[in-house]
Symmetry: C2
Subunit: 478 residues, 2 copies
């Protein structure tokens, strides 16, 4: 059973949300069918962890084929270096700081959290559903596990998946000793529930088959809705530790257990793309592949690699927020291209809503841009800047190729929480120095001034609501 919290949504909030949703005015439907959207997300995948992103011992033939048939982004960002805020940004096209989905006290939502995605937010599923799209979510949600926060109460017709990370809900009485708990574990130790809609259908979730099952559910949904436009959101639980994979992927990878699991995600991508081809939907479906944040580096070879980028998950170095991203739409996105143009997971919201023929919400600040110029032409991208938030702190900002670090902090483990302030900020040229090795702030005060101005402008339009991540479960529910 999922715990329930009462009283988090007031009638007034509901009224306000309704008004906001109504602000999504429908454009005149085009004669041709509007495109379908499929968003496949990996969890904790490193920038360097795909064959087509240069890893020497990882094979990802399906993602490599997707890239060779589509567009590979080398400078595409998540909006946060950890799970909940990153996914909130993907779903809303807005920075987590704008919708309460971040915190300096608790970096993500936990099973004892009482908060979640605010009803006032317009999710991508809500925006597309209002345009007549069928909407399905298959995988890890992590935007609140109480009923009002779950996918089916936030624009999705269908949900099948786990409500938070696969390492939460541990059964302490059978805990494996020490760090090994995080990989090759006893399945029974992880008590995470599997939901259909808002109902728990399995607990603990059998994670060994979960990648396959998400995939099968997503493909069934595509088959069932092939006659109408649809949104499929497929956020895999893998390759987040603890690592699980189906029997047929055991020992398959030259890179070990981590990539056994990644190879199953790669298989999943191949299955979905093939289903689209088989249904003759490939030429009317835009597919994105990306990840929520960088690799979890604290688990040695059981975590991924950011390649030549610095650090990983939890940090605002490039390794924490730059994601291996591919866009695919045969006949529309030219094949085999690689772009250095900037993109963000928040841009997926804006791009999809725009392509669906809807107007964007006009009563709030949106942080996404329409990537059509990059997808369908050579660019340039409308995105010129990236803001790097860790919790509620703007740690760094990128403008063009330049990145200024106002604060730096390495991995997010509790034993390395030392935050260093930089005044003037550290400055890196990410074109010349993608690994953030050579600070050049003394040589370029004029660039720092421009980034300072960008940050000041951003802050003038910022009105952070209370954090959803700090809301406890109501005592009466414990």
């Amino acid at each position: 059973m999922i715990d329930r919290a009462a009283g988090l949504v007031s009638p007034m909030t509901l009224l306000w949300a309704g008004a906001l949703l109504a602000s999504l005015t429908t454009s005149a439907p085009a004669a041709e069918r509007r495109p379908n959207f499929v968003i496949i997300y990996a969890d904790d995948l490193g920038y360097g962890d795909l064959g087509c992103f240069g890893h020497p011992t990882i094979r990802t033939p399906n993602l490599d084929r997707m890239a060779s048939e589509g567009l590979r982004f080398t400078q595409f960002y998540s909006a946060a270096p950890v799970c909940t805020p990153s996914r909130a940004a993907l779903m809303t096209g807005r920075l987590p700081i704008r919708n309460g989905m971040c915190s300096d006290k608790r970096r993500v939502l936990f099973p004892d959290s009482g908060g979640g995605i605010p009803e006032t937010e317009i999710t991508l599923a809500e925006a597309l559903k209002s345009q007549g799209y069928a909407t399905g979510c298959f995988g890890k949600w992590h935007l609140g596990h109480l009923p009002q926060f779950l996918p089916t109460n936030n624009g999705f017709d269908t949900y099948y998946g786990i409500p938070y990370s696969n390492d939460m809900d541990r059964l302490n009485d059978v805990a494996p000793p020490g760090r090994e708990a995080f990989w090759n574990p006893k399945i029974e130790y992880w008590n995470v529930p599997l939901l259909r809609g808002t109902e728990v259908i399995e607990r603990p979730t059998d994670q060994t088959t979960i990648t396959r099952r998400y995939t099968e559910e997503a493909i069934s949904f595509i088959r069932a809705h092939q006659e109408e436009p649809f949104l499929v959101y497929l956020p895999h639980s893998m390759v987040h530790i603890p690592l699980f994979r189906s029997d047929e992927f055991v020992g398959k990878s030259a890179r070990g257990l981590y990539v056994d699991c990644l190879e199953e995600v790669d298989w999943s991508v191949g299955q979905v793309l093939q289903a689209l081809r088989d249904l003759n939907l490939d030429e009317q479906t835009l597919v994105f592949f990306s990840s929520d944040n960088g690799p979890w580096l604290t688990f040695n070879e059981h975590g991924g690699s950011a390649g030549l980028l610095k650090d990983g998950k939890g940090t605002t170095y490039e390794g924490g927020m730059r994601e291996p991203t591919i866009a695919w739409w045969p006949s529309r996105v030219p094949s085999g291209r690689v772009t250095q143009e900037l993109g963000s997971t928040m841009d997926i919201f804006t791009t999809c809503v725009t392509l669906a023929g809807a107007d964007l919400p006009s009563d709030r600040i949106m942080d996404g841009v329409d990537l059509s110029s990059v997808l369908f032409d050579e660019g340039p991208s409308k995105r010129k800047a990236v803001l790097y938030y860790r919790g509620t702190t703007l740690m760094a900002a990128r403008l063009g190729p330049w990145k200024a670090h106002y604060f730096t902090q390495t991995s997010y483990r509790k034993d390395s929480q030392t935050r260093v302030t930089h005044d003037p900020p550290l400055l890196y040229h990410l074109g010349h120095d993608p690994g953030e090795q050579y600070n050049i702030n003394e040589a370029h005060p004029e660039i720092i001034a421009r980034i300072d101005a960008l940050v000041a402008e951003h802050r003038q339009h910022l009105d952070p609501p209370p954090s959803q991540l700090e809301i406890p479960l109501a005592v009466t529910n414990e």
Copy 2:
């Protein structure tokens, strides 16, 4: 003028060399034409420095196309982490320790060196010339600048290039200050000569046009010899510091000056492959692209990147000796494949000689293997092991995915010469941990025992001659 040293080659040596060369018995010529070979070498190129090897801001469309039409190696090695021994191994198919082309005192040959490639060695050019191949070398030689050591006295019909590294022969009176001397320099400061055959035709070499000129010379040679089998060896001087490029590449790259120069090397590759296509030679020419050693990390963004591999040039970590390598032969090498099978630049010798229908030298130990099984089929490679020499010291050895470090030492600059001995050796699993981050020697003594045995076996068949790199120029010539 090139200095000349007298008396290095005795009549007895010449006799001995003649006898050895005769040991290359010719196989019966096949009815079909034997393949041409083109070997394009970059200088100090990092493993991570090509688009198709995952660099986010480097564009190498011609090399990427070569890879998409050919075979990309992710585990291909040079035989040494610095220039002279690495090139000696490529040219002879033998470890530098076997032919005196390494030293612990002088890591490469310099303008004041009196040694060079021993006449007793059989170069790839000699081996193929004895089979009727036309042979041309266009670029940086660095196996001795005295006449007897130059390409045209070692099997090449034609030579056009510089005899050693482009940073040697400095004119002190116009020295730019400090470290900046190594990039964006005054052309006149570098007094390196340009040779045709054994004659100096330009000094200082105008390095701004050198990549283009090597390319034009190589293509002219291909055109002139299109009716007969040929070997073209095209070892570019770039992207070794100091960095130069033609006017049309100035400021072209998002990665800065270093990649302006690399983009011209990429352009060169495109020109050569297109010339082969235009002459209808593409289906009878095997082309290799590789580099002599890893990136020169001491020059910040003016050096390259080994991607996720550790360290760079001069070291026996993976970043020092694993090279971004591509093989291309339309109709024979299947297109678009990536292999994790092991390869070495020494295997290029063995593969080419075998494909030319010649027998390999049988009177000496050869260190190359024939890579045909990897090139034309799915493998496996005949190469199971890699030996990592730094000078005359065997620092590390790889067997299958396992690498044992008996000694480690970081970059080769004089201020970081500390060599650390490891007993037992450090052990890394390069499949799971290509970045050499997680030593697992305590868990796998049985693997160390196997690598120890491999090294012991290797040492039983080792009889190092005196170092060529320690021979000074004869006093009478100074």
